[in-house]
C-alpha cells in the first residue's frame, strides 16, 4: 500500500511547513498532494452548515403543511419523521456523503477538497465515522450548550463555552497538517483534488515565426521559473502585459525588433526556443531553476 512519509519511519521528521505532502503510490510515483488551507476547510464547513440549516427549514415547513393538511391527526408520525430527519441531517449528513467515491460533502466538493487517509491507505468507513463523531464535541456540544441555556447561564460559563469552542475551531491552525481533532483521531486529512483542464500546449502553435533565431547566450538569460511565468503570460494574452514583458525580455537579451515583428510573435518564438533549450538540458539531468541558477 502507498505510504506517506510521515507514517513510514518510526520517528517521523517534522512535517514541512508548506502544505505539500508526499504520497508515494504503490507504483512508486510521488503524487505531491496539497493539503487544504484552513480557510478552505472553514468555507466548506460553512457551506455544509448552510445546506443543513436550509434543508432543516424546508423540512420543517413541509411538515407543518402536512400537519395542517391532516388537521393534526398525523401529528405523531410527523413528529417521528421530523425528529428522525433532523437526526440524520445532523449526524449522518457528513458520514454518508464522505462514504461516496468522492469522499467529500457538497461543501468540500464545491471547493475541490476530499478526505483521505493520512497513511496513504484506503479511507475506511470507521475512519469516516470517527472523524465525524468528533464533530459532536467540536461543534454541536458547545453550540447546543450555548443556545439551549442562553438565558440562565452566567457570563463565566458562557465564556468557558466560547473558549472551549475556540480551542477546537482553531485547532487546525496550530498543526502543520491542518488537522482538526476529528482528523487526528480518525487518521485522516483533507486534501485538494482540483479538477484541472488540460490546456493547449503553448509550444505547439502553428509556426509562423521561424525567422526568429536566438543565440545560446540569449537563451541562457532565463531559467524554468521565468519560462513558466512566460507560459502564463502567453496563456492569458493580455495585450498590455505582453507588450511590457516583450520589451523587458528584448532589453535583457539585447534583441532589436525587426520591422513588423509583433510582441506576441516574439514572445511565442522566444518561449518555444527557451523551452527547447531548457528541456534539452533537462534530458541531461540539468534543471536550471531560475535565472540566478548558474550551476
Amino acid at each position: 500500500m502507498a505510504k506517506a512519509k510521515t507514517a513510514a519511519s518510526p520517528k517521523p521528521a517534522k512535517p514541512p511547513a508548506t502544505l505539500e505532502r508526499e504520497l508515494i503510490t504503490p507504483e512508486g510515483v510521488d503524487l505531491r498532494l496539497r493539503l487544504a488551507e484552513a480557510s478552505e476547510r472553514a468555507s466548506a464547513f460553512l457551506l455544509d452548515a448552510a445546506i443543513i440549516v436550509g434543508v432543516l427549514v424546508a423540512m420543517t415547513i413541509v411538515m407543518l403543511l402536512a400537519l395542517l393538511a391532516t388537521k393534526g391527526h398525523g401529528g405523531s408520525a410527523i413528529a417521528v419523521l421530523w425528529l428522525f430527519g433532523s437526526f440524520v441531517l445532523r449526524n449522518l449528513y457528513f458520514i454518508l456523503f464522505e462514504l461516496t467515491p468522492k469522499a467529500a460533502t457538497p461543501g468540500k466538493r464545491i471547493l475541490g477538497l476530499r478526505v483521505a487517509a493520512r497513511n496513504g491507505g484506503r479511507l475506511t468507513a470507521d475512519a469516516i465515522f470517527g472523524r465525524n463523531a468528533m464533530r459532536e464535541l467540536e461543534v454541536f456540544l458547545p453550540l447546543s450548550f450555548l443556545f439551549a441555556h442562553a438565558q440562565d447561564i452566567d457570563a463565566v460559563i458562557a465564556l468557558a463555552g466560547a473558549a472551549w469552542c475556540a480551542v477546537f475551531v482553531f485547532f487546525p491552525l496550530f498543526n502543520r497538517d491542518r488537522l482538526r481533532v476529528g482528523d487526528l483521531v480518525a487518521g485522516t486529512w483533507v486534501v485538494k483534488t482540483p479538477k484541472l483542464k488540460l490546456l493547449r500546449d503553448m509550444a505547439s502553435r502553428p509556426d509562423d515565426t521561424r525567422g526568429l533565431v536566438f543565440s545560446a547566450a540569449q537563451l541562457d538569460a532565463y531559467g524554468v521559473k521565468e519560462l513558466q511565468v512566460l507560459e502564463q503570460v502567453l496563456r492569458r494574452y493580455d495585450a498590455k502585459v505582453v507588450a511590457a514583458v516583450a520589451a523587458r525580455i528584448r532589453g535583457k537579451i539585447g534583441w532589436t525588433a525587426s520591422d513588423g515583428e509583433g510582441d506576441g510573435d516574439f514572445l511565442d518564438a522566444y518561449y518555444r526556443a527557451l523551452r527547447g533549450r531548457l528541456e534539452g538540458r533537462l534530458l541531461f539531468g540539468r534543471r536550471r531553476k531560475d535565472k540566478h541558477d548558474q550551476g
Partner: protein, 341 residues
C-alpha cells in the same frame, strides 16, 4: 506532426488521448458511481491510471509545460483515489459491520468496558447509600428536568403513577413513537459525547459514566425506600439493559482513545490515537444502533407494557441477546474486503 519540434510536445501528442479518456471515465464514475461504468471500462481504468502515472513521471523529467505537469498530477491523484479508494458497496459494508466488525470491536475493548461498568456501578452504589442516609443529596445527583415528580418528597402513590402510566393513556399512546424518537436522539447525543470526550485522556468520560450511575442510584434509593424497588426495577430495566450497555460501551470506546493518547507505546501519540480511534468509532456506530433499540423499548415498549413481570422478561431477553451477540465466539470472516488493486 512534423511541426512539433519539441520532444515534450510530441510526447504529449502521443499520450493525450489516453489522459482525456481516463478523465472522462473518472468524471462519470465520480458523479454517479462505479456501477455507471461498463465491465470493459472498469478493466481499462487501472491500466489508464498506470499509464497516466508513467506519463506524470516522464513529464516531470522532460517537460517544462507547467499546465501539463499540474494537470497530470491532479488527474493521477483523482485516479489514485478511485483505484485505491473504497471498493465495497454501502450494503456490503453494513452487512460486514453487523456480522463481524461491531462484535469484534466490542470484544477488543473488554477491559475498558469492565472499567466503565465498574465506574457506573460505583456511582449507583454511592448515590444509593448517600440518598438513603440523607434525601437532600437527591437534588445534587439528579438534574431538575429529570425529576418530574419522582423526588424524595413524593408520596408512594405519586411514585407508582410515574412507573405505571394509567390515567392519561390515550393521549400518551398517540405520541409514543415521537417520544421514542426523541429519547433515541437525546441518548445518542450523550453517547457520542462520552466517546468524543475520551480524547482528553478518558477522564471526562470516566466522570460522565460515574455521574450517570449516580443519577440512577439516587432514583433507585427513592423508589426502594417507598417499597417500590421491584416495580422500579422493571420500569428501568426494560430499556435500561440496552441503554446502559450502550452507554458503557460508548464510554469504553472513548477510554480506548484516551488510553492510547496517554500511553501510546511504540507509536507516536498521533498514530496511536488514529489507530485506536478507528476501532473505537466502529464500536460507536454499534452503540448508536443499540441506543436506537433502547429508544424504541423505552418510548414504546415501556408505555405499552404495564406488567412488571413482562418488563423483567424483556429486560432479561435483551440482556442475553446483547451478551451472546457481542461476546459469543464466532468464526473469522471469510476474507478482507476486495483486493488492493
Amino acid at each position: 506532426m512534423a511541426e512539433l519540434r519539441l520532444k515534450s510536445s510530441r510526447f504529449r501528442a502521443e499520450r493525450e488521448a489516453d489522459w482525456l479518456k481516463l478523465e472522462k471515465l473518472l468524471t462519470r464514475a465520480e458523479t454517479r458511481s462505479a456501477s455507471a461504468l461498463s465491465d470493459d471500462e472498469l478493466i481499462a481504468l487501472p491500466v489508464l491510471y498506470r499509464s497516466a502515472l508513467s506519463s506524470l513521471s516522464v513529464a516531470r523529467a522532460t517537460s517544462l509545460d507547467g499546465n501539463l505537469v499540474d494537470y497530470l498530477e491532479s488527474l493521477s491523484a483523482r485516479a489514485y483515489f478511485f483505484v485505491y479508494g473504497t471498493r465495497t458497496s454501502l450494503v456490503g459494508r453494513i452487512g460486514r459491520f453487523f456480522a463481524h466488525d461491531w462484535p469484534a470491536a466490542a470484544r477488543s475493548t473488554w477491559r475498558e468496558t469492565l472499567v466503565c461498568a465498574a465506574l457506573m456501578l460505583m456511582g449507583i452504589v454511592l448515590a444509593y447509600v448517600m440518598v438513603n442516609q440523607d434525601p437532600a443529596w437527591f437534588q445534587s445527583f439528579v438534574p431538575g428536568q429529570l425529576v418530574e415528580g419522582r423526588g424524595p418528597d413524593a408520596s408512594t402513590e405519586q411514585l407508582r403513577q410515574t412507573l405505571f402510566d394509567t390515567h392519561h393513556q390515550n393521549t400518551a399512546q398517540a405520541m409514543l413513537p415521537a417520544f421514542a424518537t426523541f429519547l433515541f436522539t437525546n441518548n445518542a447525543g450523550v453517547g457520542l459525547m462520552a466517546f468524543a470526550l475520551g480524547f482528553a485522556f478518558g477522564l471526562p468520560t470516566a466522570i460522565l459514566e460515574f455521574y450517570n450511575g449516580c443519577t440512577l442510584g439516587a432514583f433507585l434509593a427513592v423508589f426502594i425506600s417507598h417499597g417500590l424497588g421491584y416495580e422500579a426495577g422493571g420500569w428501568l430495566m426494560i430499556h435500561g439493559v440496552t441503554e446502559l450497555t450502550a452507554t458503557v460501551l460508548a464510554g469504553a470506546a472513548g477510554m480506548k482513545i484516551g488510553w492510547a493518547v496517554a500511553f501510546p507505546g511504540d507509536r507516536t501519540r498521533l498514530d496511536a490515537a488514529a489507530a485506536e480511534g478507528r476501532k473505537a468509532a466502529t464500536l460507536m456506530a454499534g452503540v448508536l444502533v443499540m441506543l436506537f433499540c433502547a429508544g424504541i423499548l423505552e418510548g414504546i415498549g415501556r408505555q405499552m407494557i404495564q406488567d412488571t413481570v413482562v418488563r423483567y422478561a424483556i429486560a432479561a431477553t435483551t440482556g442475553v441477546f446483547w451478551l451472546v451477540y457481542l461476546y459469543a465466539p464466532r468464526r473469522a470472516p471469510k476474507a478482507m474486503e476486495g483486493g488492493r488493486g
